[in-house]
């Protein structure tokens, strides 16, 4: 039986939430569960191309621990989810427009493209939606 697809709406740019989204997306995808991630609002800023971890990730006490203990990097987890499983990432077209960003300013080979909220929500009716 096919697994129930998982849809993650990532709006927060807080490191801890980006990390959780990456963990859920990668583990879900490698567990033969289709996963789609919609990245919007402050979260889109965490996906800037060529950023260091210090620039990319901002958060609370746990963010410091993630960095100090060298927990898996969120961008690496998203990449592994794509490589090993059925994971798609979409950049919110509204967030791109408001931030004045083009797709080539985001981490390379991570996104499937820009997408509107209406299409994502419509697709998400087929599975479980989680918002972070």
């Amino acid at each position: 039986m096919a697994s129930n697809p998982l849809y993650i709406m990532l709006c927060s740019g807080e490191h801890e939430k980006v990390q959780m989204a990456a963990m859920m997306a990668s583990v879900g995808a490698v567990s033969e569960r289709p996963v789609e991630v919609f990245v919007s609002m402050n979260a889109i800023l965490a996906f800037a191309k060529d950023a260091t971890a210090e620039i990319r990730y901002h958060g609370g006490p746990f963010s410091k621990l993630i960095k100090e203990k060298h927990a898996p990097d969120a961008m690496t987890l998203f990449r592994q989810g794509r490589e090993f499983g059925d994971l798609k990432l979409w950049a919110c077209s509204m967030a791109l427009d408001v931030a004045g960003l083009e797709m080539d300013r985001l981490v390379e080979e991570l996104f499937d493209g820009p997408l509107g909220l209406t299409k994502f929500l419509s697709d998400a009716e087929a599975g479980q939606l989680v918002t972070l």
Binding site: V30, E32, Q80, F84
Partner: protein
Amino acid sequence: MAERQVIDARGAFCPGPLMELIGALRHIAIGDEVEVWSTDKGSAADIPAWIEKVHHELVSINEANGHWSIVIRKAK
């Protein structure tokens, strides 16, 4: 006779050991095995759950010398 590859994921945090295991499984033949060493407390439950979900085979799981040793046989 099945070949066995050892993945030393001690010190890696969740889901690092699982990802290292999956990366290794992609490069071995069906019937061959991977032994994962992990100090991540979740691995003892997470990796067997993943194996069951995706239909590989759990050969053994033991805790000794301060880490878990989990042996997986590639089944497909």
